[in-house]
């Protein structure tokens, strides 16, 4: 898609730092308006889906925008929506739902973990190593999360994904047992 350097972001997105991926051209009668948007632009989704539930979720984020800020660093929800960098560890807790939503929308979560993340909000998305690996902190949660994803993959008959998850679970358990054997 050709990107015109003159296309501007919608007014609502003037602070957005995300790269331009979409040119939106609206023709009404003889008038043509062009806008440049990022791939997760809420204005774009609103234009495409009109009065659907995605607009409801857009409204619910917008309503919260003006009041929710991180107490520790002052990062606002609007800044997070615009893709600006986060300010501290607390931001991840305060904006947990929004961040999960944005990460999935921006395709920044490995597809094999997406289903369990979307259905069970309390489940960890991260399944890699942790600072306290030798103490198995969070290991049971990681395994739960991966088992959730495995069950969903089997229900959907996505056997390739299920096999991959099975191998990851096995590798994680072997690594844990090796670690325990080394310390005993």
């Amino acid at each position: 898609m050709q990107m015109s350097s003159e296309d501007e972001r919608p007014l609502e997105c003037s602070g957005c730092k995300k790269p331009i991926k979409i040119t939106y051209r609206e023709i009404v009668g003889n008038s043509i308006t062009c806008s440049a948007m990022c791939e997760s632009c809420p204005v774009f989704h609103e234009k495409i889906h009109g009065g659907s539930s995605s607009k409801d979720s857009l409204i619910s984020w917008e309503d919260k925008d003006r009041s929710v800020c991180c107490e520790k660093c002052g990062t606002s929800m609007e800044a997070v929506r615009m893709g600006q960098p986060l300010g501290c560890i607390e931001c991840y807790t305060i904006f947990e739902d929004l961040l999960t939503h944005e990460l999935i929308l921006a395709d920044k979560v490995a597809p094999r973990m997406k289903p369990s993340v979307q259905t069970k909000k309390s489940m960890p998305i991260h399944i890699g190593k942790s600072p306290d690996e030798d103490k198995d902190v969070g290991l049971s949660e990681k395994l739960s999360s991966m088992n959730e994803a495995l069950n969903e993959a089997l229900q959907k008959e996505n056997y390739e994904q299920a096999a991959w998850l099975r191998d990851q679970i096995k590798a994680l358990m072997e690594k844990t047992h090796d670690g325990k054997d080394a310390t005993t």
Partner: protein, 353 residues
């Protein structure tokens, strides 16, 4: 250089791929991003706290047993040429952003390690592997990261993993990149086929520089798409598999070119040789493209009296900051200085076609 450099000689006297024995898969980079939970991330941290973070990390890295004679470089006091030199040497595609007082780099005599402090995140550790022993390198980097986490707790949550200021990198905080030289695939128009057929779904090809889709110098960087929702081992295995498959595809095509004695390819290589040997002015993208063809020419036996390693060295030394280290020149004379450097470097090289 008339302005004295702060960069150590180990870095300025050598280029990364000068001893490479692997002409296709040139190097692998591993980067780990970390923040400390006690402090706000660099965009929001106070000046006092950012200096505390700088001192903490600097002291630990300078006394690290994993590094060989490490040196600290304060970002703000580095000249623009020095900063650009670091970007070129370490192939740091995404750049650093503007310098501030509490930012710094740590490099060492191995020329493979780059530590960045308070640039986006409190700590970014990057290690370059050039001998294909990437498992050992990854293990070393992991051990170093573990040691740095002993003194102060990393920012970590079970749900999102290691926390970074840019959520793109949260989770493992790992960026793994394989630098591949694929002239046969690119010049024969097989890129789309190769990328869709050989690259795993959680890896993507990107450019070293320039605009999107513009694979300058036929250099493709394979990088993990996801830092979150995969284990570190899974990321590295995918990268290794994708790079290995692309390497095989490239070798197969090179063999085909040699067997068919392709006149089109001979023409391209001849033109590249002519461009580099006789042009009065040269810009970096055209030089890298031409060097890529000469490297292919060496592999096919059509260019002699020069080694692949020498061309690897030229790949870096033709870039602006590297050029300015050998000869101080005003901005408008750099293209000519570049051309002169290439003429003298290719003096002995011969085209046998």
């Amino acid at each position: 250089m008339t302005e004295k450099t702060q960069l150590p000689e180990a870095l300025t006297n050598h280029t990364p791929w000068e001893n490479s024995e692997t002409p296709i898969w040139l190097s692998t980079h591993f980067s780990l991003r970390r923040n400390y939970s006690r402090y706000r991330f660099p965009q929001k941290i106070s000046e006092i706290e950012s200096h505390q973070v700088l001192d903490l990390i600097k002291n630990q890295l300078l006394s690290s047993s994993f590094l060989k004679e490490p040196v600290f470089l304060q970002s703000e006091t580095l000249s623009p040429t020095d900063r650009e030199y670091i970007i070129e040497h370490f192939n740091f595609i995404d750049g650093f952003g503007p310098a501030s007082k509490s930012q710094g780099f740590i490099v060492d005599n191995s020329r493979c390690f780059l530590g960045m402090i308070n640039m986006g995140d409190h700590l970014v550790l990057q290690w370059t592997e050039m001998t294909n022993d990437w498992e050992k390198t990854w293990h070393t980097l992991s051990q170093m990261e573990l040691a740095l986490g002993n003194s102060l707790e990393y920012a970590y949550l079970n749900r999102f993993g290691y926390l970074t200021s840019d959520t793109t990198y949260c989770g493992t905080g790992l960026t793994a990149q394989a630098f591949m030289h694929l002239p046969a695939i690119m010049q024969m128009g097989k890129a789309e086929e190769a990328f869709s057929g050989e690259i795993e779904e959680d890896i993507f090809p990107r450019e070293m520089g320039g605009s999107e889709g513009d694979f300058v110098g036929d250099m493709i960087v394979l990088q993990n798409k996801y830092a979150l929702g995969l284990t570190e081992d899974a990321i590295l295995q995918s990268l290794h598999l994708s790079a290995s498959k692309l390497k095989t595809a490239e070798e197969t095509l090179r063999k085909h070119i040699k067997e068919t004695d392709s006149p089109e390819m001979k023409d391209k290589i001849s033109r590249a040789y002519g461009l580099l040997s006789h042009s009065y002015q040269l810009q970096t993208p055209e030089v890298l493209s031409a060097l890529s063809l000469l490297k292919l020419g060496i592999y096919l036996g059509w260019v002699t009296n020069i080694t692949d390693q020498k061309l690897n060295e030229m790949f870096f030394k033709c870039r602006r900051a590297h050029l300015l280290f050998t000869k101080d020149a005003p901005q408008e004379e750099i293209p000519h200085t570049r051309a002169e450097y290439l003429h003298s470097s290719l003096k002995e090289a011969k085209l046998t076609i």
